[in-house]
Subunit: 647 residues, 2 copies
């Protein structure tokens, strides 16, 4: 869920080489002791990996690392060649850095990957099957048990033997699919299925108990017909014994509630160290500060050395990597989410019936100022998007103006039918979808919202908009609240952006009508939002150097285009280029094409955008890989123009 | 869920006038006795309504009718003017005929509506807020508790007093959203929320316990922190006492497990009368046969008279309506779902790894022959589409070829994110979505799948197709299995259709390429599927009478169009017309527009399809209302052609 993007840590970073893991694995000590040391070393590398990448999930990697190491090293039965029919995967998925480092340490993943978290061609922010050892693509929550059941059905039909171990979060249990998936596993007596809940008590923002309390979790799970066990998931002796006990149970799927500590291993990252007056746990996502990295790494190194000494082994040999200091972000970057926070506060002051709903992303979606100012009008729904959206439907029928928040990837898809159902009731609801578009590319495709326009554009009465800069955020929110009678989907880019344009002083949103940001007569480039419009402007500069004058248009309306306006704006140009921060199919360009197809003698349309599942990586390298960098766009436009003029 | 369309019953039908209900409501007998008689009269009218409409859900209307009558008459607190701040609605929604008749009998709905079930301007097949007394649009399962919570939040903020009563099904509890929605109600101590489970033990096809057993339902609900009570829901003394007890409980939301009999009131419609060797309950949806109607009505009339005599009242006065015999369907109609059943069997024989997944629609989706032939390869998932789709993902990763079945309205939306997640894994899965398109229009918008192309077209690697006739069903399934390396969505119309065309003998599906069904040079009409293609052919005949020659093209590819083929097929025409059995936004026409926008001197495009939420009604009247009948299409095309030629 929450996926803040931080800054890579510069200076001296430390990691542990494969040979040191091999040394630990050969230590003549009990399994529990050996795996415990292994896990500490994997934590050092996980911290390195995340610090170097500038983002990643420390907290849940650390809470689950002991268990992940145990399952990989001891839980999965292996043949003489080390092959296993037993499957292990994480349903929550954001503990991927921890799992990657377990696999790197065992050699299942190439060691060089340690330097490649969230880099193109490296390890994506969330699991992907193209990475060795990853059974499934996870990161969107609640799908794990279902996938495991499917795999076990395949085992049964193909007469393969094999267990499946699924790690889940605890916040994840708020997703309805989790409970939906429990039923048939119990009815099917799937005793090859073992679910381990990494019960670290915290979800993205804060305590599970505060967000959406799970109540008597053991009673719930037992009532669903599962064998339930509970233990300390950071105590390998307890965990391994519990796992062994569970494996002996037949005729039931098993679930272990593993009580863990989020951030386990570094004192000040452990959630139990949070003062009671601190609201937000700081190490869910993002990167540690340089100071936190140094202190955390030192704690882990000291712990490893104590553990090694306890095993009668030599002290840890560390690899050292000198990293450049990250460049400071350029001054003047715009951030749409804080702009939204302010715009929402202004509207809330005017509309007493305005309420805001959140699905455990209060920090990422900019809702903290609203929550603090209007606690009565803030509804925390937990990681339960379907419930949240249908609740909004009930509120709207009851006379409120609900504003629903989540990441675009989840909000457009998980409650897709619920949004349609609300629309058929003709009520007015505003959906605010942040983390929209292909950037940040670090988290990977589960979090890259490049299909949301498509999946909701067909909802009657739902107008979809995307602001291009801070100033447009408030303008469009005001339009949605004060002008639009029906529902609106506001698509918000979360990455900080350099904005090389400004809206006119007297700018007022007019449905279906765009704003010319740069003028030119040869080609019309239509785009939206602060990710692609700056690239389009840059491409226009490059084209201008080659004698091609481009008109760059900001069209913030994602699923409506005013035909007459469009006819005017493209008149005389030799080509029209649509750039979608989205898949081409179903993007804004579809609406432009639809309008152009009715305009006599319209210039030909060139579509730019995504054609396939985007990779994870750094922002610039991913735009390059997708051909959405300014240079490639400029040359694509040049070629299209040449072809159009020849035709 | 299941929504079979039957045949209206002809001959003598009986219903009870408002005055008779008024007489019953004035009887000086105890409440329980009075409401019991009222419910029997309402059952007579419900049976009339469904027999006359030719479709509707008898079973669950009858199981819940006693409770619905009690809540409307006694449960909702009313002021002196009969107004109530207490809300009652059905989350399952397919018991709408029962609820309509309660409201018709109390005068909350105009009496004439009794003749207007599933008719344009009358009462839709599932609840819609435009009908007086309907709090919410329901019919897609699992949303009710969430909506109720939202309404209660509005009550709280707007300082209104009021309880909310929500009726759910029991099969409905398989939906994850139900469990998702329980959590915050308990945490919020919402003691103004009362959920009643119409626990009639049967879902669409057969016993809940066979489809996806709910296990210890009381334990589950208690573990979720709700106050749980249980009673006989067809025994008004027991139900009313239980409801009163529940209202006295504070600090918890309440849920009543009401044990009921599906089809209650007519001996042979009661599920308890099914012989143990009968697999399918016959009165879930559709219409009764004429014989069943007569026998059922007589039983209910006899019961009413016994009840009236017991209350010392005169016998029932009945209204008589003579109905014409429904015309026999024209010979030679094609049915795509049985054709699919056969095509699937043929493929199953060839592919041992082919498995079929069902979400409680085994009858509607044509899976019974497969299930009987390959019980090991049939996976019944219950009403749990998210779980089903993610299970399919697990199966595909495990080496199976999963074919996933549901209605298009649910399959495209409820597991929308899960389908995308599967796609990102690059596995091959086939989704078969029946009840596709605007027809049958009787069930209403919750079941009219006119947004599915849009909501899935952007999924990379998912090819969407719709067969135009029985012969094309097998051809496209074979293509999906034997030719396509990636995933396919097969959109199946469920209504029987008159097909005035045949595919060429040597027909082979070629991605993005259509088939000319009727030729002409003036205008090119592109459509798909057996709903709109016959209308297009009919429109072409009408145009031909006016000297306009239309080329009618079947393009079964919903989200891909071969540009070069399109350029050829439209060359020389004065206009291109795209007809979508779907919303215009996001329909096949978007892909046609996209391709046309790259073709120099392409004729202008005219888009036909839906622009707003479709009404419920009879098929022909709804097509007329939408302007999608042959005459309107012909005149639209004539006008477009005249405009294009003038331009």
């Amino acid at each position: 869920m929450g996926d803040l993007i931080g800054t890579a840590v510069g200076g001296t970073l430390y990691y542990v080489a494969k040979s040191e893991f091999d040394r630990v694995l050969a230590l003549p000590v009990p399994d529990v002791q050996r795996v415990g040391i292994f896990a500490t070393l994997a934590r050092i590398n996980t911290l390195y990996m995340i610090a170097r990448a500038g983002s990643g999930h420390i907290g849940s990697s650390f809470s689950s690392l002991d268990m992940m190491a145990w399952i990989e090293l001891r839980g999965r039965r292996r043949d003489a060649d080390g092959q296993s029919n037993d499957l292990f995967f994480s349903s929550k998925g954001h503990d991927a850095p921890g799992l990657y480092n377990v696999l790197i340490a065992t050699g299942a993943l190439d060691f060089d990957n340690i330097h490649m978290l969230r880099r193109l061609g490296g390890l994506p922010g969330h699991p992907d099957v193209n990475v060795p050892g990853m059974a499934f693509n996870t990161g969107s929550l609640g799908m794990g048990v279902s996938k495991a059941k499917g795999f076990l059905a395949a085992n049964r039909l193909l007469q393969r033997d094999g267990r499946v171990f699924v790690l889940t979060g605890d916040g994840e249990l708020q997703e309805g699919q989790f409970w939906e998936s429990l039923i048939s596993a119990a009815n099917g007596k799937m005793d090859n299925l073992v679910v381990i809940i990494d019960h670290n008590k915290l979800q993205s923002d804060t305590l599970v108990a505060q967000v959406s309390d799970l109540g008597d979790l053991e009673a719930k799970l037992k009532a669903f017909g599962w064998h339930v066990a509970r233990c300390d998931g950071n105590d390998l002796a307890a965990f391994s014994a519990t796992l062994d006990d569970c494996m002996a149970v037949t005729g039931q799927p098993k679930i272990i509630i593993a009580d863990t500590v989020k951030g386990k291993g570094v004192s000040f990252m452990e959630h139990t160290s949070i003062d009671s007056d601190v609201e937000l746990y700081k190490f869910h996502s993002g990167a540690p500060s340089a100071e936190a990295y140094v202190a955390g790494a030192q704690e882990l190194i000291d712990l490893a050395n104590r553990q090694l000494a306890g095993a009668g082994a030599d002290a840890l040999l560390l690899e050292i990597e000198e990293r450049p200091q990250a460049a400071a972000p350029p001054p003047g970057q715009q951030r749409l989410v804080p702009a939204y926070s302010n715009a929402l506060l202004a509207q809330a002051a005017k509309h007493a019936n305005l309420v805001a709903l959140d699905a455990d992303l209060v920090l990422d979606t900019g809702l903290i100022p609203f929550r603090d100012a209007y606690p009565d009008r803030f509804i925390e729904c937990g990681i339960a998007e379907q419930d949240m959206v249908s609740q909004a439907g009930g509120m709207a029928r009851g006379g409120l103006l609900p504003i629903v928040h989540s990441f675009a990837c989840f909000l457009s898809a998980r409650p897709n039918e619920q949004i349609y159902n609300n629309a058929t009731e003709g009520t007015k609801i505003i959906y605010v979808a942040s983390l929209a578009g292909v950037l940040p590319a670090g988290p990977g495709h589960s979090h890259q919202a490049v299909r949301d326009i498509s999946s909701l554009a067909g909802v009657p009465g739902l107008t979809m908009v995307e602001p291009s800069c801070e100033a447009e955020v408030g303008a469009l929110l005001d339009w949605a609240i004060d002008e639009n009678d029906a529902s609106t989907y506001i698509r918000l880019v979360s990455t900080p952006c350099d904005i090389p344009y400004a809206l006119p002083q007297d700018y007022t949103p007019r449905p279906g009508i765009g704003v010319i940001l740069a003028d030119g007569e040869d080609v019309v480039v239509i785009a939206y939002g602060p990710t692609m419009l700056p690239v389009a402007i840059d491409a226009a500069h490059k084209l201008s150097n080659n004698g091609i004058q481009a008109r760059v248009v900001n069209l913030p309306w994602l699923n409506i285009v005013d035909r007459d306006w469009l006819a005017g704006v493209v008149k005389g140009a030799s080509a029209v280029v649509s750039i979608d921060n989205h898949y081409v199919v179903g993007g804004q360009g579809d609406r432009i094409a639809d309008a152009l197809a009715t305009i006599t003698d319209a210039p030909p349309l060139v579509r730019l955008g995504l054609r396939d599942v985007p990779p994870s990586g750094q922002n610039a390298e991913v735009l390059d890989a997708l051909g959405l960098d300014a240079a490639t766009i400029a040359s694509t436009i040049s070629a299209a123009l040449a072809a159009a003029r020849k035709a």
